[in-house]
């Protein structure tokens, strides 16, 4: 059984619990083992970089140093963590002396980072390490479920380490291997506003409105996401957006791990689908047994 060191990130133990639950269940079903990074901390997110660059790198590096000790690849479900961890790695490689400086900060705790750990997003892991084999595990028929695959920004940018920066296709492919029917969705990498929802609400509401509108236009029955912040913005503010823009923009939003897990015959409750803010019952009822 292949083993990964799992870095859930802060939001998966609070507001994005269903993502955590469905990721664990899906990996179990795929016979991939996840072991949490011992005593992990916040990666610094997009926030810490705002006021202190090197301390932000330290926050990310502490996790990398601990994960490195396990000898396994890191499995990261959150796009922001994924970008931040990669960025820290890149900065320590690019700036002379920075890795030593960071190691100096880690020293008191008895940690060292030497740059060996591989940082991988869970979508990429499933795509590359399981691949089309997932088809053999499918238990429910999702052919009638039209799905808009939403990647968001930070999963594929800045550099697009595992998929195209503007027209990524891996999530669409994975969904079709699971038997669902991905639709053409031109807002797949449009920004949801991220933290602007708290600091510049009007702007973020408009961005989310545009994404929901594109999803409705595409004829999708539901949207799947691969990022906790996108998920919250798309599902948590849907009622408010419908009221504000007076448009019919209601669409169930699922984590991609939930829909994939559902295809594999896992129970909706196990996958935390009943804890989502949007109701996916009608959509999932379209699934047939095999």
């Amino acid at each position: 059984m292949k083993k990964y060191t799992y870095y859930p990130g802060c939001s998966l133990e609070v507001s994005n619990k269903p993502y955590d639950a469905s990721t664990k269940e899906l990996f179990k079903a795929l016979k991939l083992e996840l072991e949490e990074v011992p005593d992990w901390n916040c990666c610094g997110a997009t926030m810490y970089m705002n006021f202190d660059e090197h301390k932000a790198v330290y926050l990310a590096a502490r996790n990398l140093a601990i994960a490195e000790k396990t000898g396994h690849d890191m499995a990261v479900p959150c796009s922001a963590c994924f970008t931040v961890l990669q960025k820290a790695k890149k900065f320590m490689k690019a700036e002379e002396g920075l890795q030593d400086k960071i190691n100096g900060m880690l020293k008191e705790e008895g940690l060292t980072y030497d740059g060996k750990v591989k940082i991988r997003n869970i979508l990429e892991i499933i795509f590359n390490d399981v691949g089309t084999d997932i088809k053999t595990l499918v238990k429910r028929n999702l052919k009638d479920i039209k799905v808009a695959c939403y990647y968001g920004c930070q999963l594929v940018r800045p550099k697009g380490t595992f998929d195209d920066t503007e027209n990524p296709e891996k999530l669409d492919k994975l969904m079709s291997w699971c038997g669902a029917s991905p639709v053409f969705f031109d807002a797949k990498t449009k920004c949801c506003g991220g933290m602007l929802m708290s600091t510049k609400e009007d702007v973020a509401l408009k961005l989310v409105r545009d994404i929901l509108y594109a999803a409705k236009e595409s004829g999708a029955d539901c949207m799947v996401t691969a990022c906790p912040l996108c998920q919250i913005n798309l599902e948590g503010y849907q009622t408010e957006i419908i009221k504000k823009f007076k448009e019919k923009l209601d669409i169930p939003i699922l984590y991609f791990t939930q829909l994939a897990g559902y295809a594999l015959g896992l129970d909706a409750k196990q996958l935390g689908i009943n804890e989502n803010f949007t109701d996916a019952k009608k959509t999932l009822a379209k699934a047939g047994g095999n």
Partner: protein
């Protein structure tokens, strides 16, 4: 308003700092084509677009840059960098402008995003992880306590689905993290080397 001399001084400092960023030299290669501004999903809400910011930096208009809303509206989606024909990842420069503004106490009138970043920092250095409930309370108390009423519908949903715990989780290494984050930062390795030489 800062005088021209002071502006020139600050401009010099920041352009030196830019050079030290990974791939920081590239900023000089901007050809002012505007691809960044046209791609930016939030440029419609900015007072100056990313292209204008680069032009202003070149004209030593550092104070106007730091006082603009632009820097703090950037949502960090990296699309400008993905499309830039000169290969400039402008998002990283936006981060640096934010840090620079905080360091020199020059920022936009609307300080909400700065306060959010600071409160996030406080919560993380306290617990080692982000504890959302505390962050929401701290931030709204500082910006607009009336906003709590607006948060009620979503908070109820969160509580009903058990997605808003009341207690932060424990990080054993939190005391080390706190110590590092609260310490006065040492200079950049490159700066240190410069002083030594």
């Amino acid at each position: 308003m800062l005088n021209t001399k002071k502006q020139k001084e600050l401009s010099k400092i920041i352009s030196k700092e830019f050079e030290q960023l990974p791939e920081g030299e590239k900023l000089k290669e901007c050809i002012q084509c505007g691809t960044c501004s046209g791609s930016c999903p939030v440029s419609f809400a900015m007072d100056y677009t990313p292209r204008q910011i680069i032009a202003m930096l070149r004209a030593d208009m550092i104070e106007e840059v730091l006082k603009s809303d632009t820097v703090w509206i950037c949502a960090s989606c990296y699309l400008c960098g993905a499309r830039c024909p000169a290969g400039i990842n402008f998002t990283d420069f936006m981060y640096h402008l934010k840090r620079f503004g905080i360091k020199y106490g020059i920022g936009p009138k609307n300080k909400k995003a700065i306060k959010m970043a600071q409160d996030f920092g406080t919560v993380v250095s306290e617990h080692g992880r982000n504890f959302e409930a505390e962050l929401i309370v701290r931030y709204n108390l500082r910006t607009n306590p009336f906003n709590f009423f607006k948060l009620i519908p979503l908070s109820i949903k969160m509580l009903l689905t058990n997605r808003m715990p009341f207690f932060p989780s424990k990080v054993k290494g939190a005391k080390y993290i706190r110590k590092v984050l609260k310490a006065k930062d040492a200079p950049r390795p490159a700066e240190k080397a410069e002083v030594a030489s």
